[in-house]
């Protein structure tokens, strides 16, 4: 990185660290922080979307749709995250390749499962075997985001389902008295009012989601935990210009600080959101805000 980094063994501590912390591997480490943030930025809204659909389905009047919603919530919430992650990502990946195989290589007559092997034709590979490494990584990342969204969507669905039921019935009756249709009451009265009931549950989910990001590592995405373990491990002078002992503790301490800061910032933001949502609501919080001197 810097011009004086050619022979690190001769450097003083400060310069040594400024070289050490800017090596190629460390850049990968820093990039992985953005991966985690990106995962959160994408997963949170998608999971909320899944949750909203799940909650709507679970309270539908048409029974089969209600069953789908209820099953989704019960199934995903009931299976341990790790088991779901490991199973679902492999199943999804193989499912996609299986479908592509049927469409793209119809005249392929070998079995897809050969003993232990899962083999599809070259054109059906997802991503293609000759695609660049970043395409493979992006694909793996997308699978991970999708899996996270499904898991956290189920929890969000449960929270939203409860929140929808928590909106006082008289509020909805008022809407009906004004002659609104069921759909209009739902969108104009129920949805705007339910957030204040949903937020405590959703903010809890958000915290759990932040803390669950190291599961990325399980899914083969090189996240901050992977790099912290890799970088912190003992390095002997034969294989690196920057030998050091077992520094994993310091790297993990760094992660700890990162996660703590991140959850703290989240808490502050969620508190503000909560007081914004409480305004004018027929809840204890809303009443307290109203009575407080302006």
């Amino acid at each position: 990185m810097f011009s004086f980094c050619t022979d690190p063994s001769t450097l003083d501590t400060f310069r040594w660290f400024s070289c050490y912390l800017t090596t190629g591997v460390h850049m990968s480490f820093y990039i992985s922080f953005f991966k985690v943030l990106l995962l959160l930025a994408v997963t949170a809204p998608v999971a909320l979307g899944f949750g909203f659909l799940g909650a709507m389905a679970a309270r539908a009047t048409f029974a089969p749709i209600r069953w789908i919603g209820k099953t989704y919530i019960a199934l995903v919430r009931g299976v341990p995250d790790i088991a779901f992650f490991l199973f679902f990502v492999i199943a999804l990946d193989q499912g996609i390749e299986y479908v592509r195989q049927k469409v793209l290589c119809p005249d392929w007559d070998e079995p897809i499962r050969q003993g232990n092997d899962f083999v599809v034709c070259q054109a059906a590979k997802m991503p293609l075997g000759n695609a660049a490494q970043w395409v493979h990584e992006t694909y793996g990342f997308a699978l991970a985001v999708f899996t996270f969204a499904i898991v956290f969507g189920a929890f969000a669905a449960n929270v939203l389902f409860g929140a929808m039921r928590a909106v006082p019935r008289p509020q909805l009756e008022t809407g009906e008295a004004y002659g609104m249709s069921q759909r209009q009451t739902f969108w104009r009265i129920l949805v705007p009012q339910m957030w204040v009931y949903a937020l405590p549950g959703l903010s809890n989910l958000w915290m759990v989601l932040i803390k669950a990001t190291p599961l990325l590592f399980l899914l083969g995405v090189e996240d901050i935990v992977y790099w912290a373990r890799e970088l912190g491990g003992t390095k002997t002078p034969r294989f690196t210009d920057y030998p050091h002992g077992d520094w994993r503790m310091w790297y993990f301490l760094g992660l700890l600080v990162f996660y703590l800061c991140f959850t703290r910032v989240s808490e502050i933001a969620l508190d503000r959101l909560m007081s914004r949502l409480t305004r004018g609501q027929a809840t204890a919080g809303g009443e307290a805000q109203r009575k407080a001197p302006a």
Binding site: T23, V25, W108, D109, G129, N130, T234, R248
Partner: protein
Amino acid sequence: MKRILITTAVIAVSAGIAFADSHGKTIRMGTEGAYPPYNFINDNGEVDGFERELGDELCLRAQLTCEWVKNDWDSIIPNLVSSNYDTIMAGMSITDERDEVIDFTQNYYPPTASAFVAAAEGVDLSGGIVAAQTATIQAGYVAESGATLVEFATPEETIAAVRNGEADAVFADKDFLVPIVEESSGDLMFVGDDVPLGGGIGMGLRESDAELKETFDAAITSMKEDGTLNTMLKKWFGEDTTTY
């Protein structure tokens, strides 16, 4: 694919035919990247080590385009059989158990010794606590030796276990341990006798990938014959290492 297989059967097995399918395809090489000097991540964040250099040379000789992929040791075989990559070069010893699930090329590293490393002389290797990496031949050996086996996901953690006293000794490939003992300035030492284990290190491939196996077998043979493999072994493992 089927056509190729039939042709292969008719004209008898030959490595030349194998190129038909392999051309234009990128061979993805799976490795762990945590087992120096076999494979590790260098300062630039790239896969480096004996297997990187060897693998690149093999691909050159076989006229294949290759790309390196990192994968956790735990899931390195499952991800191979589900076709996430096409080969494993990760210091993996050829054993009968693995051979039932995947195929191996001929070995590119001769059958090698495994060794115990401890923090002090005189530890009890047959009744004490011995650390080894999960799903390695060394872990299998320790489990049968009567010692208490503690398993870790990465080689690094097995060494750390000995340093912090969690385990009495670590059992691993001697070539992995030599640099660690040398750099430990006396903290760690070899104890007990070396144990020859496994059938050498080979490249792992899917059982259905017979053509690719022949291609790489041929490339390894050519490297053994012209002595380049021995040069590479000496470069990475020192002058005293076993050669072909």
